[in-house]
């Protein structure tokens, strides 16, 4: 058959998430890997590959291998495309497995930036993080700190060009909160209305608090092996049918518009071609949602609607429970947990397996997963499936 899986996901480990203090990222990583091994019915000695997602504090480094006690790994690396990394890690793992370089590879993301003494919004920032030298100092003088501003500027541009509104962002946040209420690992479960969204405080206009992702302490681990080996393991295999990445370039060239034209377009086209399926085959999307706006622009670039029509497209609540395109069914990073692209990847595994409980979607044959990093400067696409061929 034409479109065989490139690899298969056989284990998933998700630790408790959120304000869990006093533990290091590597300790969360160890717990997630232990959970994933148990989930897969494998032991640590079965693992011969370890791919580590870098994180913002840079405390997940190559020495994680020693900290975790792995030995004789034949595939080991720290990878970083910011929030797009999980998709690139999956590519590398599957290619290595197909080349015979490793048989069973763990992919892990872990982070522990939350501390009791500061607000979540300061987790990745602080005066110590601001260099003063040269052009970096110029940026600091302008007060251009962190991702919130960059995404706010992107969202503003989209609103200007296409009439996208606060209601369009709000319906995404409200829908994901409803999903989160059905997800055991989600951090935010209090009911949210459109009024709650519109009344939440400004972070960086046009983005409000409830347009922004959470910050989480925790870890996710995923175990990948060959489709042949996956058949004999404990869980229903989740087959990787397509993967692609695209980085559209920087935002500071007037010929480029990554704020409104993301790498989802090119990487989506490549991944769908590889998988041999179309958008109509997708039953649920798990899309990177650092902000509500990211979901909207990603749907456009995957072609679910035309460029600029993302607002009207989501306005009927089709992404929420009971909608025609259930999206971010674990609550995403807005209401679930913030583990970069391991948030959408982990929920995709749950949905493909049919283990979503109250939030399980009926059409789980093919799931579209996105990752995004920088200020929409990096993108990854994965297509996961219950079926070993398309």
């Amino acid at each position: 058959m034409a479109n065989q899986p490139k690899g298969s996901i056989v284990g998933l480990g998700v630790t408790p998430m959120g304000k869990i203090y006093g533990r290091r990222a590597v300790d969360f990583a160890a717990e997630a890997i232990a959970l994933a091994l148990d989930d897969a019915g494998l032991t640590k000695n079965d693992i011969d590959g370890l791919l580590i997602n870098a994180n913002i504090p840079n405390d997940m480094d190559p020495r994680t291998q020693m900290a975790l006690g792995f030995e004789n790994l034949t595939l080991i690396n720290v990878m970083n495309g910011y929030g797009s990394t999980a998709g690139a890690m999956m590519q590398y793992a599957c290619m290595a497995i197909r080349e015979g370089l490793a048989k069973t590879v763990v992919l892990v993301y872990a982070d522990a930036p939350l501390t009791p003494s500061r607000g979540a919004g300061q987790s990745y920032s602080g005066p110590h993080r601001f260099p003063l030298n040269g052009m970096a100092g110029l940026k600091a003088h302008y007060g251009d700190f962190g991702a919130n501003l960059g995404y706010a500027m992107a969202a503003r541009r989209h609103m200007h060009l296409y009439g996208t509104s606060e209601d369009h962002f709000g319906i995404i946040a409200v829908g994901q909160r409803k999903w989160a209420q059905m997800s055991p690992r989600a951090q935010m479960k209090a009911p949210m209305t459109m009024a709650d969204h519109h009344n939440s405080r400004w972070i960086a206009e046009p983005l409000r608090l409830l347009d922004c992702c959470l910050v989480s302490n925790g870890a996710v681990a995923v175990i990948v092996t060959s489709p042949e080996r996956a058949r004999d393991l404990k869980q229903p295999p989740v087959h990787v049918l397509g993967y692609a990445t695209c980085a559209p370039g920087d935002n500071l060239n007037t010929a480029r518009h990554p704020a409104v034209e993301t790498g989802a377009k090119r990487s989506g086209e490549m991944a769908f071609r590889m998988a041999g399926i179309t958008r109509d085959d997708i039953g649920t999307c798990q899309l990177y949602d650092c902000y509500t706006y990211t979901v909207l622009v990603t749907l456009e670039d995957y072609g679910f609607c035309a460029k600029g029509e993302g607002g009207p497209f989501v306005a009927d609540g089709k992404l929420g429970p009971g909608g025609s395109l259930p999206t971010n069914t674990g609550g995403g990073q807005l209401s679930g947990y913030y583990m970069w692209a391991f948030t959408p990847l982990s929920e995709a595994v749950v949905q493909v397996r049919g283990q979503g409980g109250a939030r399980q979607v009926p059409r789980n044959d093919h799931v579209l997963v996105s990752g995004n990093g920088g200020i929409l400067n990096f993108h990854s696409t994965l297509i996961l499936s219950r079926h070993p061929s398309s």
Partner: protein, 138 residues
């Protein structure tokens, strides 16, 4: 009693010295490639258009339009406690580069994408002047 914190003042380094020297003299200096004629920002060692290692400096027009902006409400550095909410803006310069800066001389709620802007310079101490943008005179 707490001291009032200041906004960070950039310390010019080797690669950015021409930019800051220009600002001190009231000129917006940008890198310009002798090979392909392309302009670039922020400071680089090699032309992002043709990859030649022949970047020099030229005074830019200082004219542009507002591409997009955001109004920051978070205080991520104590020097901005008295400034929030403040704008951070992207300005499309006539030369083809998109520069991040602040727009001054206009209320945040009067900012409009597409408005014509021109560079101006603000003394920030330590013999450093910073290019900012204001609504164009004409």
């Amino acid at each position: 009693m707490s001291q009032t914190a200041s906004k960070p003042v950039p310390i010019p380094d080797t690669v950015s010295a021409t930019f800051f020297d220009g600002a001190r003299g009231g000129e917006l200096m940008l890198q310009h490639c002798a090979s392909c004629g392309g302009w670039s920002f922020p400071v680089r060692e090699r032309c992002p258009h043709c990859f030649a290692g022949s970047l020099g400096w030229r005074a830019a027009s200082g004219r542009g339009t507002l591409y997009t902006f955001a109004i920051m409400h978070q205080v991520m550095h104590p020097g901005f406690a008295a400034s929030v909410p403040y704008n951070v803006s992207q300005i499309d310069l006539e030369e083809g580069v998109r520069m991040v800066s602040n727009v001054v001389g206009v209320a945040n709620d009067a900012l409009r994408i597409g408005m014509k802007l021109e560079v101006c310079f603000e003394d920030v101490g330590d013999n450093v002047r910073i290019p900012k943008f204001r609504p164009a005179a004409d």
